[in-house]
């Protein structure tokens, strides 16, 4: 027997309420997580593509590509598809069979007004940035 004649062992009504609340909380947390992840995937997929404008001029067996507008490109993230050859930048020179060099201020960005000289008469050039083609040039 307990205080004032209440038998605590026999009366367990409060326990079921706590268990019920706990279950509800778990369900709420799980549902909120599931719904949130679903809503995130429902948001329209607008890709963050770099905006850049290039001008290519072919002369004397070489091709000059000038950045003529838009965002600066980080050279470490730039890939060039020259016909069927993929090139990356090593510092400001091209790291592939076709030779080329970026004429600019020497930093690690390809900025407005800076010119890439490719010492080969390539005809199809794609500028790839963050694995997206930002510019396709047919010389």
């Amino acid at each position: 027997m307990g205080v004032d004649g209440v038998d605590f062992k026999a009366d367990s009504k409060a326990a079921s309420e706590i268990i019920g609340e706990m279950l509800l909380l778990v369900i709420v947390v799980v549902l909120a997580g599931v719904l949130s992840s679903n809503i995130a995937s429902l948001i329209p997929n607008v890709q963050d593509t770099a905006y850049v404008d290039m001008l290519a001029v072919s002369e004397n067996g070489s091709v000059n590509i000038t950045h003529v507008g838009g965002e600066p490109l980080n050279l470490a993230e730039v890939k060039l598809m020259l016909d069927d050859e993929v090139c990356r930048f090593d510092d400001t020179t091209l790291d592939c069979e076709t030779s080329g060099r970026l004429f600019g201020n020497g930093d690690d960005l390809w900025e407005f007004g800076e010119r890439l000289q490719i010492n080969s008469s390539v005809s199809r050039i794609s500028v790839i940035y963050h694995d997206q083609i930002v510019c396709k040039i047919f010389v």
């Binding site: 949130s36 809503i39 905006y51 507008g69 838009g70 407005f112």
Partner: protein, 243 residues
């Protein structure tokens, strides 16, 4: 009795749970949208608007030196604010002065005019500002105070031992337009031609865009050129922009 009633009533529980779920969803979805979707959407809209405005503006080079019409796309009002604020201005980019005494001093002429240029300025929130300038048949792009010549001007200054022919583009009146939506811009060109015999005088050009090309044509570094005893043909193309 009162205690029993309080324990068995759970009417409010579902409302609270629903509200908690809604709040949780909002708390997760809103920062996601603000940090990812909105900047990308604004940038994408601006890129599209820039491209449309440039495409329509560059048509000017197709009909030059004749008259033509531009259907120009300006800025856009999106659910997330105004993007790609665009303005078009027809303004002077410098002056040309031709002064001569001809036919043994019997005829004097003096022509002064403002060189015509049309400027398309695009101000972006997510991408760099950009200005395209069309003047004398050439196109220049300007970004962050730096200019690049996209196509060279068609400066017509031909001189031989006894003749000189000069063609200049002059602006009638400065005009401008900015805002949102589409605009129709008429570019009217009208030509005047004068011929003088046995002239002695000078040409002075102050062109803020294509001065180098004028200097090359005049074989000068001072922006001026003197001539003696030449038959002069002067052609002026007047440009008038109607918005």
């Amino acid at each position: 009795m009162i205690r029993l009633f309080a324990r068995s009533s759970s009417d409010a529980v579902s409302s609270v749970v629903a509200m908690t779920i809604v709040l949780a969803v909002l708390a997760v979805a809103l920062p996601l949208a603000i940090s990812n979707f909105i900047p990308c959407y604004v940038k994408s809209s601006e890129m599209q608007r820039y491209a449309e405005a440039e495409d329509s503006f560059l048509k000017i080079a197709e009909f030059y030196p004749n008259s033509g019409r531009l259907r120009l796309r300006l800025g856009e009002q999106t659910p997330f604010g105004f993007v790609a604020a665009t303005s078009l201005k027809a303004e002077s980019s410098g002056t040309v002065e031709v002064n001569a005494a001809c036919d043994g001093g019997n005829v004097n002429f003096n022509l002064q005019c403002n060189i015509s240029s049309v400027k398309l300025s695009m101000l972006g929130r997510a991408i760099p500002n950009r200005t395209l300038i069309f003047s004398e048949g050439g196109i220049v792009v300007e970004q962050a105070g730096t200019r690049i010549v996209l196509s060279e001007p068609q400066i017509e200054l031909n001189h031989s031992d006894d003749s000189l022919t000069l063609t200049i583009d002059c602006l009638k009146e400065e005009r401008g337009i900015s805002g949102s939506g589409s605009a129709i811009v008429d570019i009217a060109m009208s030509m005047e031609r004068w011929e003088y015999e046995n002239c002695t005088g000078y040409i002075y050009v102050n062109d803020s865009i294509f001065q180098d090309y004028w200097d090359e044509a005049m074989q000068s570094t001072s922006g001026s050129m003197n001539f003696t005893n030449k038959n002069v043909t002067l052609i002026v193309r007047w440009m008038e922009v109607k918005v």
